[in-house]
Structure formats: C-alpha cells, structure tokens
C-alpha cells in the first residue's frame, strides 16, 4: 500500500512540476493559445560539433514535440520565457527543424496583434526558412492572410533572386489579379534580365492592362543593358499610358549616360502639355554627377532643344547646390555668353532651399548688373534669416565684389524686418537712424510686411506716413479690414494719391484668394465719405455682386435708396 502511494506521489509531483502554470494576462497570442498537443519536456538530441559541423535534422514527430515545447517555454514563475531565452532556444531548434515543419512552427505566430518580441522571433524563423526554401515560404505566407504580405514579399524577393523564372511563373499564375500584379512586379524584372521574351510573354498573358502596369518596371530592367532599344520599343507605350517622363526617368538617365544626344532627341519628340514641362524634364535628365557634364553639354550644343536655357537653369541650380565648383567649371566651358547669362539668371531656385548660401557662387558668376545684385540680395537675405552672423561675415569678406554693396542693403532690410516682427518699435528706431537712400526706402516695405503679421493697422499707418508713393500690401489691408473695417476704410480714404487710394479701397473687399462677404463690403463702401468715390465703388461692387447673386444685390440696393444708385 505504501509503495504504490509513494510511487504515485513521486510521479504526480514530478509531472506537475513541469506542467506550466496558467499564463499571466497580457501575453501574446502565441502564448495565450493552448499548445496543440500536451506539453512535455523535450530534449534536443545530443550532437557533437567535433563529429559534424551542424546537428542532425529532427524526425517529423520529434519536430512536432520540439515545436510544442518551444511555444510552451516558460520562466519558472509560469510567465513566458524572456526574449533572449526564447531566441536562443529558437535558433537551436531551427538548426534541427525539417523544412516541412516550418508551417507548423509559424502557425501560432500569425496575426496582426503579435508583440514586438513575437514578431522578431517569427522573423528569425521565417528568414531561416526563406534561406532554404523560399518558394514554400512564399506560398505559405501568401496563404496565411493579409497580415503576412510583408513576409510573402521577403520570400518572393529571395526566390526571384535565385530562380527568377519559377518565381515569375508562380506570381503570374496567382488567381487574384492585384496580388498577381504585385508579385509579378517583384519577379518579372529579374526574369527580364535573364529572358526578356519570356518575361514579356508572361506579362502579356494576363491582358493589356496587366502588361501596362508592369511595363515600366520591365523597361527599367531592359534599359540596363540596352536603354536605346528598350525605350524606343516600349517607351512610347509607357508614356502614352500616363507614365510620362517621371516613370521613365531612370532608363532615360541610363540612355543619357551613354548617348545624351539620342536620349534628348527622344524626349523632345514625346508629347508634352507645354514648353515649361519639357524644360523641366530635360533639366532632370541627369541623375548623378557622372551624367551631369555629358547631359549639360549635349543640352547646350544640340540643335532643336526647346527651352534650352530653362532646362539648363533647372539643372544647374541643383548641381550648384550639391557641387558648386563642378557646376561652375562646366559653366566656364560655355563659349556662348548669352546662353551662360540666361542659364545663370534661371538657375537659382532658392525658395525651398535650406542652404541658400550654396548657390552664392552662381550669383557671383553673373555679370555685373542689377540682376546680379538682386540675386545676391535674395540669397544673402535668406541666409541671414537662418544664420545672420555667417551672412554678415560673408558680406564683409566680399565687400569689394560688384553688386555686394547693393545686396547688403537687402540683407540689412531683411534683418530689420526680422526685428520688426517682435519688436516693431526697435525696428522703427533703427530704421530712423539709417541714412537717406535706397536702403531706407526699401526697408519700409519689409518692415511693414513683418510688422503687419501682428499689427496690420499700425504697420500700414506707419508705412503710408513714411512713403506716399508706395502701394500697400493688399493682403495686409484686407487683414486689417477683417479686424476693423471702418478703421481700415478711414485710413484708405486718407491716402492722398488717387491710384493708391483706389487700390487700397479695392483691397478692403479681399484679394485673389479671400473675399469678404459681399454685403459686408457693400456696407463698408457705403460709408465712404467722398460721394463720387462712394458711388464709383458701390456701383462697381454691386455690379460684380449681381453676377454672383442678383437677388441679394438688388435687395441690398433697394435697402439703400439714399445712395442714389439705380439697379
């Protein structure tokens, strides 16, 4: 009696010791799901590295047990084992896992809501599978639901790099058209590099729409070996189907690197909406430093290039931003002075540059004249707003160069505007201390624009008090009118110069992007003191209103008989 009882106690205690405790809440899906078969301690078969470099593969039933044991890994307290332990055990297991067991291993790790650790572990396993059997891995991932699309892409990419033919045939035979297109786009280019005829045949077999979607990628591959033939054969179809220049930019760049004249001639022969577009394309043709010299020279010398100056200007501004020395060296090879100047004048697109100072060498290469001073002023002012000490130091170092003195006025004016935004009184005091001259005049508008962002009324009143002949910013006038229409009207009426006064009165109604409600503007114009001016403005406003809302305009007029304006 005692012996069986003792034996039972021993066996029961031992078995229960190894059975994991219920998992804590918040665990991943893989660990909260019960394993498919009861958990049992599983030992990997022993292996000696001295006898073989890698351990032997597990038999199928052992693999199943090992998989269950791995998924059931627990820390002694019953919680899931830590990541390092699981990863360690996984790597040991993967060395021994037969390829047919991977789906079974991965099944509990499918789903969108995996923890980051589980995703990492899945990736370790999947990468191992892909290395040995990418085709099965791809098929499994694709069948495992939409969340595994990334895995499928990884597997197909590897498969395609090893056996492009099989991968492409598989992709093009997938039943769903969109899935087939996505995976064909991954596989067909690799096949095209090997056998363009088969790649095109596979893409064509699913119809024209399918081929049209894949043709740009196929063309890009084909162009790596023979861009001229690829573009001449398939380029027009891609272009016609909405691909246009931007879709073909890479193969065109390849062609331009080998035969810029032919590539340029081909682009020029393609349909374009307008000439500006053509200039932009040609300016974007060179994609790296090696191509730039070749393409620029071809653009400058080849007959029949439309928008030559614009194309070269576009190209040079980017070139100069990346490598001003090389860009200028190329420019110096140009013998046509007119072309050189035109390119320089069209080349500095500073609007969105974080480094306007990089384009300064181009401005300095411009001949003496007001355009050079203006360009220097723009670049330096932009630079000064980002790094005033550097811009001012540059001005000091280059003070004797033509145009720099005039440009420094722009910079100082910009700096005054920067002050005016937050401290208008200081800016005005500094402005007053300036000697009479072009800088002082120019600074009025920049101070007004900056000050007007916070106080349009004060800025405009100050501006008109300093200069009687400058047109105010319509945007500022309208901003003021929205805040305090009567005050803005009173100010506009006080302007002595008739054209400027009319301009300001018009601006009270809005501008090209914003408009005050018509009735509000009519009410405001009805308060104009000068009867003739009032009649003129009310009449023209109501006329315009009638084209939009005749009933409302008519009704407003009827309500204001005192104005004496007939409908």
């Amino acid at each position: 009696m005692i012996a069986p009882l003792a034996l039972g106690l021993a066996l029961g205690a031992t078995a229960a010791w190894f059975v994991p405790h219920p998992s804590a809440s918040g665990q991943s899906a893989a660990h909260s799901a019960p394993p498919a078969v009861p958990t049992a301690p599983f030992a990997l078969p022993s292996w000696s590295w001295r006898e073989s470099a890698t351990p032997p593969t597990l038999a199928a039933d052992s693999a199943s047990s090992a998989i269950v044991a791995w998924h059931a890994l627990r820390a002694p307290d019953g919680r899931p084992a830590d990541f390092a332990t699981r990863a360690d055990a996984l790597r040991a297991l993967l060395l021994r896992l037969p390829l047919t067991s991977f789906p079974r291993f991965l099944a509990p790790l499918v789903g969108a809501k995996l923890s980051e650790d589980d995703r990492s572990l899945r990736q370790i396993a999947f990468s191992t599978w892909i290395e040995s059997d990418p085709s099965s891995a791809a098929t499994w991932a694709l069948a495992s639901g939409p969340d595994q699309q990334d895995l499928a892409r990884q597997a197909v990419s590897t498969w395609s790099s090893r056996d492009p033919r099989a991968a492409a045939v598989w992709a093009c035979a997938l039943p769903d058209q969109e899935t087939a297109r996505r995976f064909a786009a991954l596989t067909l280019p690799a096949l095209a590099a090997l056998d363009s005829t088969q790649a095109l045949a596979l893409a064509s077999a699913r119809g024209d729409a399918f081929l049209d979607q894949l043709l740009p990628d196929l063309l890009t591959t084909l162009a790596k070996t023979d861009p001229a033939t690829a573009l001449r054969t398939y380029g027009p179809r891609v272009w016609k189907n909405g691909g246009g220049f931007w879709r073909l930019r890479q193969p065109l760049g390849e062609w331009a690197a080998r035969d810029p004249a032919a590539a340029i001639a081909w682009i020029v022969a393609q349909p374009s909406k307008d000439r500006g577009e053509m200039g932009q394309w040609l300016g974007e043709l060179a994609q790296n430093n090696a191509q730039r010299n070749l393409v620029a020279t071809a653009l400058a010398t080849q007959p029949g290039v439309p928008n030559r100056q614009s194309a070269l200007g576009n190209m040079l501004s980017r070139w100069a931003n990346q490598d001003p020395v090389e860009a200028l060296a190329w420019l110096d090879t140009l013998s046509d002075r007119n072309l050189r100047i035109a390119i320089l004048e069209r080349s500095a697109n500073i609007t969105y540059s974080d480094h306007p100072e990089r384009t300064l060498p181009l401005a300095l290469a411009m001949p003496e004249g007001a355009n050079r001073s203006d360009r220097l002023g723009q670049l330096l002012s932009q630079w000064a707003t980002k790094d005033a000490p550097a811009a001012l130091a540059w001005l000091r170092d280059n003070a004797s160069a033509p145009g720099v003195a005039a440009a420094s006025d722009s910079v100082r004016s910009t700096l005054l505007a920067t002050i005016a935004r937050d401290e208008p009184a200081t800016a005005v005091a500094e402005w007053q201390a300036l000697p009479e001259g072009p800088l002082k005049t120019k600074a009025i508008s920049t101070i007004t624009a900056a000050w007007g962002q916070t106080d349009p009324a004060a800025a405009l009143q100050w501006s008109t008090a300093q200069s009687k002949n400058d047109y105010p910013s319509s945007e500022l006038v309208y901003t003021w009118a929205r805040k305090d229409g009567p005050a803005a009207l009173q100010w506009a009426e006080s302007i002595s110069e008739p054209n400027i006064r009319s301009y300001a009165l018009n601006a009270l109604a809005g501008n090209w992007q914003d408009k005050a409600p018509r009735a509000a503007t009519a009410d405001l114009y009805a308060q104009i003191k000068d009867p003739a001016v009032r009649t003129q403005f009310v009449t023209q406003h109501v006329q315009e209103w009638q084209t939009r809302d005749p009933a409302a305009a008519k009704s407003w007029l009827a309500a204001h008989p005192d104005l004496g304006i007939k409908n």
Binding site: A16, P41, L44, A53, D77, A87, D88, I124, K273, D354
Partner: protein, 633 residues
C-alpha cells in the same frame, strides 16, 4: 484486494503529489526578481545563470565552456574566409556552420569571434558577420553595442556599417532597458554617432511614450532638440497627430522639411476634428503669410485626397464657415474641385447647403476655372451649376475648350447632347477653337469654313483661334489676316489714350472688348514672326496705319520673346533689330525698355552697345545709363 483497489494508493499518491507540487512550486522557487539594468559593460551575466524553466533547458543545448569553446571557435576560424563573391552554396554551408557554432559558444566567447570577423572583407563575410551580430544582439545587446562603438571604420566595416551595427544593438538594448541604453548612447564620444543613435532611440520611444521622448530631447539642449524633433514628431504623429502637432508643430513649421510633414499630419487631424485643426493653425500668428498659405494648400490637398470622400463634408463645413467670414475661399474651391472630380453628386449636394449664394457661385466659378489639366471635362458639372450669363459662359468655354484641345470629338459630342440655347455662345467659341485645330494643318479650309459661319459674333470669336494655329506655320500670313479683321482704330498713339476723357476711354474699351483675343494673338504672332524674320516683322508693324497698334505691337515684340519659358534671344541681336525702326520717337520708346533689361542683366555689354550705336537719342541713353549705374558720368 481486487485489481482496481490495488491501484487506489497509486492514484491517490499521483493526485496528492501532483496537487502538492503544483501548489508548492511557486513557493519553493519564487518568481525571479525583475532583472537589474544590465551593467554598462561587455561582460553580461553568464547565460547558465539565467532562470530557465526545465523545459527551456532541455531545448537549449548545453553551451561549451573553457577549452571546448575555444576549440570549437578555433575550428571555425581556421576555415579560410569566404571570397567576396563566393557562390551561394558556399555561403549557405558556412552560415549553417556559424549558426550551429553560435548555439554552442558561451557569450563570453563572442568577443573573440567578432575580433576575427571584424577584419574579414567582402560581401560574403559581411553577411556572416551580420548573421552572428543578430545572435549577439539577442543574447547580450549591451556588449554588442560596446563592440560596435569601439569599431574603427576600415576596409571590412565602413562608417555606415558601424553605425548600422551600433543602432541595431542600441535599439535591442533599449527595448529591454531604455534608460541604460539611452544613458550610454548619450555619452558616446563621437558627437555625430551620439546624436544619431540617441536620436534614433528617442524616435522609437516616441511611438510609445512621446512626452518622455520630447522631455529627453529638450534636456539634450537646443541643438539636439532641433536635430531630433522631426523624428519624434513623425513617430508621435503616427499614433496621435493632434498631440504631436500641439507639442511640436510650431517649431517644425519654421523648417522647410518639417513643414510638409506638419501639414500632412494636420490633414489627418483635420479629418477627425477640422475645427480643432484650424483653431491650432489660427494660433500660428508668427508665421509668414507664404508659409501659412503653403501649409493651408498642403492641408487641403491632404484632406481632398483622403481615401474616404465621406470625410470631406465636415471638413468642407468648417472651411465654408471660414470662407463666409472672408477667409480661405480659394482653398475651399480647390477642395470642391477635387471632391467633385471624385464624387460629383456629393460635392454638389454639399454646395447647396451653403446659404451665401454669392460665395457658392464664387466657389463654382473658381473650381471650374481651375480644372485639372488631365481631365478638364470633370469640371463641367461645376460650371453648369452657375447662373446663365458671362460667368457661366466663360467657365464652360474654358473647360470645354481644354477638353476640345485633348479630345475634340468628345467635346463636340457633349455639346450636341446638350442642345441648350443658353450654350450657343459657348458652342460658337468651341467651334472657333476647333477651326483653329483645322487651321494648323489646312489654313485655307479653315478660312473657308470661317467665312461660312452664320453670325458675325461667331466669326469674331473664332478668328483668334485660326490665327494662332496658322501662325505656327506662317506667322506673316496669320498676322496680316488677323489684323485685317480688326475694326478701324482711332488715329491716336498709346500716350494719347491717357489724355482722353474717362468716357472716351470707356467707349473705346467697350468698342474693342470683343477683339481682345485678336490683339493677343496679333502680339504673339508678331513675336513668333520676329524670331524667324525680324526685319520683315518690324517693317510690317511699322507700316500699320494705327499709331496705337503700331507702337503697341513693336513694344510688345521688343519685350516678349515668345511663349512662356522660351529661350531669351541674344540681347545685342535683338537691339540691332529694334534699332531698325525708322521713326526716332517710336524707336526710342521701344528700344529703351529692352536696353534697360539688358543693363540689368549685363551692364558692361549693354553700355558698350549704347556707346557704340546712335539708335537711341542721347538724352534717353544718358537717362538709362544713369539709372542703371548712378556712378555713370
């Protein structure tokens, strides 16, 4: 005792033993305390001390130790390094060996393994090194990070690869113990690496704890904050765009690259809460108007291209409220155009909800005139909603005209299908345009059909299109023909126009209002002609009887170099051509603006031309030179 009875003690023993073991196990082996942050050292605790469950121990093969580990490692390292372009099979075989070795080696041996691997060059060995590094990072990320930080970039591992190793290890370390990893990364001696690695850690932290990430970035100083805030914003905004914008939107708007990202996220915010998104934008009063405008465009664009058009309505409501208060009308019309192109009935139904009729028609007119260049016909439903009159005619003529340019058959079919008397004027304009297309290939046929047009109005409307197309092949003939279609002009020059009374000016303008297209085409045609045969073009213009037309055309020819973006002609050649004008007063007036431009562009060359030519009167020459260069005597 019967058989079943004999088994009773065994079963009882099993039950009691199992229960006791189950209950007692946690008491006997309490849960391990939370592991302390790993020390910043390359020597982690030996893996054997880690609290594995028995089943884990069974899955993990025992690690080699001491001489055995050294021997296994030596055996691997004794293999000749793979060639840079080793065959795939060789790489697979070697990576299998390496993987197996890594399951056996204690963590303490990895230093020695990597000391050897770090010197191996070529892609194949690079792959093996990365494979081994993955394992090291899993087992002991701090040690792997220390190794990567100590690397000196060279032939085998360049600076970029070092940075990748470092980032990978630091990320893994931070996943287990963010504080230690971040503290360590913040003390890296190389400032570029320090910024890049700690910035990367903050960006990752921002996905789960953005407030803390931002606080740490701020604690790193202004420069560090500026370098990291964009990445923190990106990670933050992915989960919570509004909070990210409230915290970091303002400084990022001042940054060229950050601005687009803020606008993109503002778009997401605006889809869920347009009122709040605009309210935030309104608080950005320090923004310059251009930035504010661009942000608004970008925001509207984001929302307009949203997957669900149903999201557009609340956004449009907010924009409409603003537009009715006089702000953002243009953005609303852009939204309407885009919306209408995707879901016309919904867009038009929404439009009907705007009570302000004038605003509604403003929006329709703007949206219709800013048609998509790829599909102008999509704007037709908007134009048709306008009240009959010039506003609707212009909008329809524009959209149909551009459609007719791309697809004349479709545009004509549409007109035929809409047999509406109010469309007569529009149809005539389109017909004129189509005659222009015919004139490009067969001017005589186009002229014959033009002669047969029933109404004079229709002929006036159609004439510019014909001349424009004809000018491409024969600008001289086109210029002569279109000038002959003009009514008699008054015998006054441009300067005299300003001397007329306002009524006389208005009457003249009224008389020639219908001929605006004629004048425009005449100007462009003469510019085209002057590029191929400037002498003939100048001579023909000089022969015109109307002083106003003559001087206006010559002036335009001197200033305009053809279509937009066309190449600027050689300034000296152009000056020589203008100098051929025989009447000195007109020559002075036409030449002066050209020379003024040239002086701006190339002071010395223009001055030399003026000094060596007598085409300009001495007074005008002196005036120009002094203006261009006040130091000129």
């Amino acid at each position: 005792m019967s058989s079943p009875a004999r088994l009773l003690p065994l079963c009882l023993g099993l039950a009691v033993g199992a229960s006791a073991s189950w209950v007692l196990r946690p008491l006997v082996r309490p849960p391990a305390p939370a592991p302390a942050p790993p020390p910043i050292s390359a020597s982690p605790p030996p893996s054997a001390l880690r609290p594995f469950s028995p089943s884990a121990l069974l899955l993990l093969p025992p690690r080699l130790a001491g001489p055995d580990a050294d021997a296994a490692l030596d055996s691997y390292l004794a293999l000749p390094p793979l060639a840079a372009k080793a065959p795939r099979a060789d790489i697979a075989e070697r990576s299998g060996r390496l993987r197996a070795l890594l399951t056996l080696l204690p963590t303490s041996s990895l230093d020695r393994l990597f000391a050897a691997l770090a010197t191996r060059t070529g892609d194949a060995e690079g792959q093996l090194r990365r494979l081994a590094f993955d394992v090291w990072v899993e087992r002991d990320a701090p040690a792997a990070a220390l190794w990567a930080a100590a690397l000196v970039p060279g032939e085998a591992i360049n600076a970029q690869a070092r940075s990748r190793y470092l980032t990978q290890a630091a990320r893994a370390w931070a996943r287990r113990d963010f504080d230690s990893a971040y503290t360590w990364a913040s003390t890296l001696p190389d400032s570029a690496l320090r910024k890049s690695v700690s910035g990367d850690l903050l960006a990752r932290l921002a996905a789960t704890d953005p407030t803390r990430a931002l606080a740490l970035a701020r604690a790193g100083g202004e420069e560090f904050l500026a370098a990291t805030q964009r990445d923190i914003f990106n990670a933050w905004a992915k989960n919570n765009p509004s909070a990210a914008i409230l915290a970091l939107g303002a400084p990022l708007l001042a940054d060229n690259q950050g601005r687009w990202r803020v606008a993109e996220m503002l778009g997401k915010w605006a889809v869920s809460d347009p009122q709040a998104a605009f309210a935030w934008l309104d608080t950005q009063s320090g923004l310059d108007p251009d930035t504010l405008r661009n942000t608004l465009w970008s925001l509207v664009n984001q929302v307009a291209n949203n997957d669900k058009t149903s999201d557009l309505r609340p956004f449009a409501d907010v924009l409409a409220t603003r537009a009715q208060a006089g702000q953002g009308q243009r953005q609303l019309s852009d939204l309407l155009r885009s919306w209408s192109a995707r879901d016309t009935p919904a867009a038009l139904a929404w439009l009907d909800s705007i009570p302000d009729v004038a605003l509604r028609n403003d929006l329709l007119a703007e949206a219709a005139s800013n048609y998509s260049s790829d599909a102008p016909e999509k704007s037709i439903p908007l134009a048709l909603r306008l009240p009959p009159g010039p506003l609707r005619d212009n909008a329809l003529a524009n959209t149909l005209g551009h459609w007719a340019d791309d697809n004349p058959d479709a545009a004509l079919a549409w007109l035929r299908a809409h047999d509406d008397p109010s469309l007569t004027a529009v149809a005539e304009r389109i017909q004129g345009q189509l005659l222009g297309k015919l004139a490009a290939n067969d001017p005589a046929a186009a002229l014959a059909r033009w002669q047969n047009l029933p109404a004079n109005e229709a002929r006036i409307t159609a004439a510019p299109g014909i001349a424009k197309a004809w000018a491409k092949s024969d600008p001289a003939a086109a210029a002569r023909w279109i000038s002959a279609q003009l009514p008699e002009l008054p015998n006054i020059g441009p300067a005299d126009f300003g001397k007329l009374s306002p009524k006389e000016q208005a009457d003249l303008q009224q008389k020639f209002m219908s001929y605006q297209g004629h004048f425009e085409v005449l100007q462009s045609t003469l510019s085209t002609w002057s590029r191929t045969d400037p002498a003939a073009a100048v001579a023909w213009a000089e022969g015109l009887t109307s002083p106003m037309l003559k001087e206006g055309l010559l002036m335009n020819m001197a200033q305009s170099y053809g279509p937009y973006d066309a190449d600027t002609p050689d300034r000296a050649v152009r000056a020589d051509q203008i100098a051929a004008i025989t009447e000195p007063a007109i020559r002075d007036r036409v030449l002066a603006p050209h020379l003024e431009n040239w002086l701006r562009s190339d002071l010395k060359a223009a001055r030399e031309w003026i000094d060596t030519h007598d085409a300009l009167s001495p007074e005008k020459a002196a005036e120009l030179l002094t203006k261009a260069d006040p130091s000129h005597p």
